[in-house]
Subunit: 623 residues, 2 copies
């Protein structure tokens, strides 16, 4: 690789404290792009897919995208790949901020980390070297402290990725946090615990080599073509962050309330939205590397146990999770819960789901004060939410159960708690309700890493934030119907599949950056001659590639489901009252469109057509 | 009780070889009618609901209905109640023929059998006595032989209920067969194994006391009011038996083909229908006690390993199961499979499902010739079907797995065989497809004993065999829609709930015998003054009563589902091509109509309204 990626990967063995450098070939990038795509391809050759997620043999990969670190707008991201302790499936979790570009500026595209260190360890990645440092004094520290200590030790110009106590404690819903107080999270699917299992506390990076770009002026011209549209469409995000959406999505029934049971909560939504934050506790703004959108926010907590703290502002998912889901309308508590998750290294989506699940279990008498260690864990019960977050990170009392995710928690608690455990394939739902935009139902059911919104974001099309016509789809949708929803889901999953491997942010869609625009950027950076439709084909290939890994682990139609609360529970109020997704119908159409068997298995014909056979023959090794 | 039922129950302890007589009060009948209704009420007071189905403490009850043995047409039935080894739930399985009326003519309404005998035992029930006989020489004999031997020993005027080798071997899908060659089956939910676990081989009955009837002329007048309609509408059943429906249901997509995967099979349906039987192997006709319909048939097997045998003719379910489900178009093999199930004491519905499941597993390579003991177990593969039936009864090779039911079989076989295991709550589906008549979807999902068609028979209304207007429902239906389907399901479940406790056959509906007509018969027999709507209310009470037993055992919305093949698998051909039931929507409406919580739990308000609270307070004891 000459442009975009260097093709160089550092393979690190933590047990031996050694590393090797290898290079991957451009033909891999042509098939799978960079980042999670290329890496997963390489990785699957070498490691059994089903290595115990928290065992020393399980590989953990941090992979910058093909465009990461270039001047392409939002090209800030890397993906963390590995086996999820939460779902048991192969996973990637993508994160922005500045760590990924800085990492790529060391000249490496990725790290493959195996083995477990005896004592806590951190890595320092610089241009041309990987160094191992003693992290014994960091063990137990939160992610912010860890970053601060390492900056003090290694220099202010390093950026640190770290786990907090949750990852150390092997909590299944723990995250990897990047950039200290910047608090960018590889949040979903519990990869913090994988780092923890290797006793790898942190990875500091320092590099200055910008990736080579073939035709900078072409890249800039492409950027200019969408920049005005993008800036105009994202003004709300600059002003209020993603939490600026809370009020609007409450109106459509897209906001989950009281553990997915309640239909509307207008006062609460108004009290916990980004606009309210801007009026009250907003302290500043933040943007990821090379991003003109600047959706990040800082807040100052004004009351409660964390009074005076300057913290990262709650994003939409967090605002919905520690707001509506828990019936908490106190912004200061919300910001505190967010700050605690960032410090402890917990995924806010799964954690908020787990907390709301616990509140419902408590109110139903399935768990008691004895289980909660004396906490009155009711919905809207003030600091109870914060106490539960802490107990999850430290595996105290009921926290030990909740930290295993709501699927396992329901199995442990029994007493029909499965009725209000909201997950697919073990991953808790993101806070966009498939009853409000039914196209999200087939996506949540089939998304490769579990109930992930980011694998499709079809509501961007349904509510016209991204024009469907770019994908050959209509611009008008019946949000509660089934017509063409499977088709929308497939198209968006294919399109979304290229973003992580490229290292781009999906908010580019707000600028109407469709496949052609993305292809132009790829061509500008690499010198290739991809068309938009070829890019979509790569996306389809990547989605199928990931599905094949899941299939090798036993996934099929039986796992492509919605939990009972989202399939049968008809909220009687709000913007999606009376709406329930016809998941059977949409899935049936979905499999047909995908060219999969009616049981959700990619057919040999389709895999040949996508170039995955014979390319990947023998790749999906299961021990 | 003076009329209809005597109120006398014999409580038999097989371990002690002792029995006691007790009487139940008419107020119980007013609440729950007789048979399974009254008995279950009495029983739940005394025995823990969750006693291991095959343990000695589990009670097995045989209960004649309130009208059984009277001159009310079709009043021939009794229910066998207990805990199902197949589903783990409380169950009732109803059977006609002549045993129930003869049993009731001993002066008892029911038997409650507990304990396990050390050596094989049979019971002889006569007027005023229960005797215990040594069944050591009968153990291992089939149900026909058992009947013959006992008739030789006790007199030709006894009628025998017996288990075959399947029940002895504790096969989960075994039946209790009544009347020897008459081959009437308490087929569903595996109660033969409960008898087997008690080493109770048979129950012979001899009695002559007809139940007292308050107003015979009133009963006769009511009968006259529907008899012409009934006879006219059931001419097809008299001519061809229930298997006469095979061709017609194939046209609508209601016939399951090739383990529920194929959409049409016209030649096969024509080859295996009752009309074809009438043209070829039909030998005679049979009717249950007091039944003008006479749907039973006898056939003479003309070819194959059972050539020359005169056997009970396959009914619709059996014809569909060992015909279309297994792609077998050979009537002689079909009749042989039926005969073997009757002799071994196997439920033909669950057994045919298990055989078709095995054929699919074989064709997919999930099981091999090694598992099948050398049988080439392909669809349509001649005598392979018969070999599998035998292996199930004797727990040989793969038969040991299949006899546990397809739910457990799929768990054992793994490899995604759950994708084609077709059950709800562990009970295999009856052969009416919820994709053809979507009203059957909420019924199969919620039917108390699992995927049972008899708890609703909504397709009788959808295809106008019974006028919906009797239940306040329309007469025109969109078979593949959702409109009013939940309402239809609730109404029919409530109505159907009175048939078993009364001892009546649901084919009375063909004579348009609605709630008012049934109430008239009840009043004629008992002297009560029930109205049709009061009767419907009792039906609703009974359905909720049974649901409460299930709820106590952990059942809720999460269990009210369709298997993936029926929810997502869109058959591309046939009369129901493209149809998939919107189960989420229908269930949501269903719970609302039932006055249950959105998680399928009867609300306290509704239970009070139905008179079940405080009546049943403390009744649902779980150990």
């Amino acid at each position: 690789m000459r442009y975009g990626c260097s093709g160089r990967i550092a393979r690190v063995d933590l047990a031996k404290r050694s590393y090797e450098i290898e290079e991957w070939d451009e033909s891999i990038a042509r098939m799978y792009l960079g980042g999670s795509g290329a890496a997963t391809r390489i990785l699957l050759e070498r490691y059994p897919l089903d290595a115990s997620a928290l065992g020393p043999d399980a590989p953990l990969m941090l992979m910058a995208g093909l465009l990461t670190g270039t001047m392409v707008p939002t090209a800030s991201k890397c993906s963390v790949c590995g086996r999820s302790p939460l779902t048991g499936l192969w996973t990637e979790s993508t994160v922005g901020g500045h760590w990924p570009a800085k990492f790529k500026a060391t000249g490496y595209d990725g790290l493959i980390i195996t083995g477990a260190s005896e004592a806590p360890v951190y890595l320092l990645i610089e241009e041309g070297s990987v160094a191992f440092g003693d992290a014994s004094d960091l063990w137990g520290k939160d992610t912010y402290e860890t970053s601060e200590v390492l900056k003090g030790r290694l220099g202010e110009d390093v950026i640190v990725a770290a786990i907090g106590p949750a990852g150390e404690n092997l909590v299944n819903i723990s995250s990897i946090m990047m950039g200290g107080h910047d608090a960018r999270a590889a949040g979903r699917t519990g990869l913090g615990a994988v780092m923890g299992s290797k006793r790898l506390k942190a990875i500091a990076v320092r590099g200055k080599s910008r990736p080579a770009v073939k035709d900078a002026s072409k890249v800039q011209a492409t950027t200019r073509s969408i920049l005005e549209t993008l800036k105009k469409a994202t003004q709300m995000l600059r002003d209020y962050g993603t939490a600026g959406a809370v009020r609007a999505v409450e109106l459509t029934g897209d906001l989950p309330i009281r553990n997915w049971a309640q239909g509307s909560w207008p006062e609460g939504a108004a009290a916990t939205c980004g606009q309210k934050i801007a009026e009250t506790i907003l302290e500043g703004h933040y943007s990821c590397y090379s991003c003109p959108i600047r959706c990040g926010k800082l807040v100052r907590i004004e009351a409660g146990p964390y009074k005076g703290t300057v913290a990262h502002g709650p994003e939409y998912e967090t605002a919905a999770g520690f707001g509506a889901m828990c019936l908490n309308d106190d912004l200061n508590l919300l910001a505190a819960a967010n700050d605690m998750c960032n410090r402890y290294g917990l995924d806010t989506i799964s954690t908020a789901n787990a907390v709301a699940f616990a509140m419902e279990a408590y109110e139903r008498g399935i768990i008691t004060r004895e289980d909660t260690g004396g906490i009155e864990a009711r919905f809207g019960a003030g600091t109870a939410m914060l106490d539960l977050v802490r107990k999850i990170a430290y595996k105290e009392d009921i926290g030990e159960v909740l930290g295993q995710g709501t699927k396992k928690a329901a199995e442990i608690l029994g007493k029909n708690s499965i009725e209000f455990s909201v997950h697919t394939k073990g991953l808790e739902y993101a806070f966009h309700d498939p009853r409000a935009y039914t196209s999200m139902a087939p996506n949540y059911a089939t998304a490769n890493r579990g109930a992930c919104h980011l694998e499709a974001l079809t509501y961007f099309v349904e509510n016209k934030a991204f024009p469907g016509r770019f994908l050959g789809l209509p611009d008008e949708w019946e949000p509660h119907g089934t017509e063409r929803k499977a088709e929308l889901c497939v198209a968006m999953q294919n399109f979304m599949s290229v973003f992580n491997p490229l290292g781009l942010c999906k908010f580019l869609m707000r600028g109407h950056a469709g496949p052609d625009v993305i292809a132009d950027w790829v061509n500008g950076v690499t010198g290739w001659d991809l068309t938009g439709s070829e890019l979509m084909r790569i996306g389809e290939r990547l989605f199928n590639f990931h599905r094949m890994a899941n299939v090798a682990l036993g996934i099929s139609r039986k796992d492509d489901t919605l939990p009972p609360r989202l399939m049968v529970h008809d909220r009687r109020t709000g913007g999606a009252a009376g709406s329930l997704p016809h998941i059977g119908k949409m899935l049936s159409e979905y499999y047909a469109l995908r060219g999969w068997s009616e049981e959700g298995i990619p057919t040999r014909e389709r895999l040949i057509d996508l170039g995955l056979i014979p390319e990947t023959d023998g790749l999906f090794k299961v021990a």
